[in-house]
Amino acid sequence: MPELLPFLKELISLPGLSGYEDPAASLIEARWKPLVHQLSRSRVGSVHGLRRGSGPEPRPAILLSAHMDAIGLMVTGIVDGFLRLTNVGGVDPRVLPGQRVFVHASGAGARTLPAVIAQPPARLLPPDLGDGPVPLEHLLADTGLAPGRVRSLVHVGDLVSYASEPVELAGGMLSGHTLDNRVSVAAVSACLEELQNRPHAWDVWAVASVQEEVGLIGAYTSTFQIHPDAVIAIDVTFAKGPGSTDWQTVPIGEGPSLCVGPNIHPALHKGLKDLAEKLEIPVLMEYAPRHTGTDAFAAQVTAEGIPTALIGIPLRYMHTPVELVSVKDIQRAGRLMAEFIASLEPDFINKITWED
């Protein structure tokens, strides 16, 4: 089985911002190609990998949805060679000053320019800002290049992605940007690998979905196109850490989480939970009383409605360039999905009801 960590590090080092996932999609396709029977892209760019099951036709299908898009920035204007920015997805401007970024310049001889996010000195900012956070509208990306050169290289609408490199930390942890949600893509890959040696009755659709961060676009459209019998969405969840200790958070390194809430089919949840207990795979409970903010929210209400579950991989410092994850949690999530899929009877879906 190929190592998970090198793949994940390579994957998070690719841009693939929402709407522009192609660089990530290509690497995912290469990784999945030997693991699935059929590979395609949806009309909006989600990667669909089908691994056929062994059950009789018509076979039920389960869809594993892991979004592959990354948050980032986009150029909105150019002033004296400096770039004005807007966000693609949820970016807290307070994490931006002093970050290294890449400007993906689309002008003649398109190229990637290293740059840094500049917080202009106080004299050049509105006086009422004081030492408070500088809003995104006043932050600038600086390529260091002369204004004329910038004008010819960079266009309004060009993307800006984080440039910081992944860092391995003590205790089997990895830190970097875009671990949300490439860790789940890695978990789905681990699941597909596990299934190489496991018979499974159901068809498995591995989906690396697009544009989750800007409105779950991939989840709505891929679930509609594939029309599976069940969906497991897999995404990162808030891990306890400095500044984050409330009820929305779970410990890091103690297993993936299983979500409970209106977006989640109780029987599917129970199936995963019981199986984890049986196999002694540690799992945590996570509660989403309204909107899970994940692909599960979209998948559940696709077409006539589809039973959906959500597995979370605990992640600290979400949407900062130093997101932090326990590699073990990713492996556990992959294994749990594979075991669950292998355990599915052909008529599983007919036997479950919302009242468990």
């Binding site: 009309r43 204007g77 807007t86 309004v156 609408g157 196109q225």
Partner: protein, 331 residues
């Protein structure tokens, strides 16, 4: 195109009450299309041509609704309290004139304003149609009105209420007239209820199931004193949308639009809009997903009764659409 633009912008049709504008547009396009239908939400859907080899089913959407007001209460003295339909800007209300779909005109007044530096809230405004009492008032709860403001021709620049998005309706009508040859099955859709959440585009796109979607709408500009920081300006050509607050245009569609404009020598600008969205968002999310883009007409003072566009931008938008639709597309 000016008479057409005047006719379209002087018609009153707030979201959900698009009958009047639909009739105007239908009369314009009926002779030009192969098929015309109205769906359950009132979208006017016109087909021209059929898909040939290398062709696609392309949906073009311009919304025909406009922002407006809806009566919520008539007080005993005949004053009308109201709520907004779509994104109403309270700063533009006081002293404005309105016209109800029934034809009744009125003016907007406000409660006593204690702090003249602050815009009144919607709740502090009322419409006065000259009625002396509730009984005398020709307006009933639920009646809707639009802003009354005549079309203004400043030669190079044109001003009217509901340029958003009648200017795009005019662009689509003119494009329909000019496109003679196309390998595509073209759906010109005049959508409803855009201003209340891109609802008409959502159902019409589901019905049409297009291979490619293009919205035509207005966008804000950054070319007025101390305004929003934005690089779009009037007169620099129609804008190819890269992003707005609700949608990331498909990069392949953006590239196709810019390439086509450059090849045809039509000026165009790239647009990143930080607030608002268009019908393209709804089309993108339809069924299995649709590659979408949006052609924007730069427009100053959006969602006020005096929206301004540049005449050349409008003509260039037609030119660009014609160039886009006349040839096969590979994304």
């Amino acid at each position: 195109m000016k008479p057409l633009i005047q006719k379209l912008t002087e018609t009153f049709s707030p979201s959900g009450y698009e009958n009047a504008i639909r009739a105007v547009i239908r009369a314009e396009i009926e002779p030009l299309v192969d098929e015309l239908r109205v769906d359950a939400l009132g979208n006017l859907i016109a087909r021209k041509g059929t898909k040939t080899a290398g062709g696609k089913r392309i949906m073009l959407a311009a919304h025909m609704d406009e922002i407006g007001l809806m009566a919520t209460h008539i007080d005993e003295n005949g004053f009308i309290r109201f709520t907004g339909i779509g994104g109403i800007r309270p700063t533009a209300l006081n002293g404005s004139r309105v016209r109800f779909v029934s034809g009744v005109p009125g003016v907007i007044g406000t409660d006593r304003i204690t702090d003249p530096t602050k815009a009144p809230t919607l709740e502090q405004c009322f419409i006065d149609v000259g009625a002396a009492s509730r009984k005398d008032c020709p307006v009933k709860v639920g009646d809707v009105c639009g802003f009354e403001r005549p079309f203004l021709d400043l030669k190079k620049r044109l001003v009217a209420k509901s340029m958003d998005d009648r200017i795009a309706c005019a662009v689509l009508i003119e494009t329909l007239r000019q496109v003679k040859q196309s390998p595509h099955e073209l759906y010109f859709v005049f959508t409803t209820q855009e201003e209340v959440g891109v609802r008409g585009a959502s159902t019409s796109a589901f019905g049409i199931d297009p291979d490619l979607g293009l919205a035509v709408d207005v966008t804000a500009t950054g070319d007025t004193p101390r305004c929003l920081k934005m690089e779009v300006a009037l007169g620099k050509g129609p804008a190819v949308k890269v992003k707005d607050a609700g949608m990331l245009a498909d990069p392949r569609v953006v590239a196709w639009m810019i390439r086509s404009a450059e090849k045809a020598g039509i000026p165009c600008q790239r647009e990143v809009l930080e607030g608002g969205t268009t019908d393209a968002r709804a089309i993108q999310l339809t069924r299995s997903g649709v590659p979408v883009g949006c052609l924007s007409i730069p427009c100053r003072y959006v969602h006020t009764p005096s929206e301004m566009v540049d005449h050349d931008d409008v003509l260039n938008a037609v030119k660009l659409l014609k160039a886009l639709l006349s040839k096969a597309v590979t994304l």
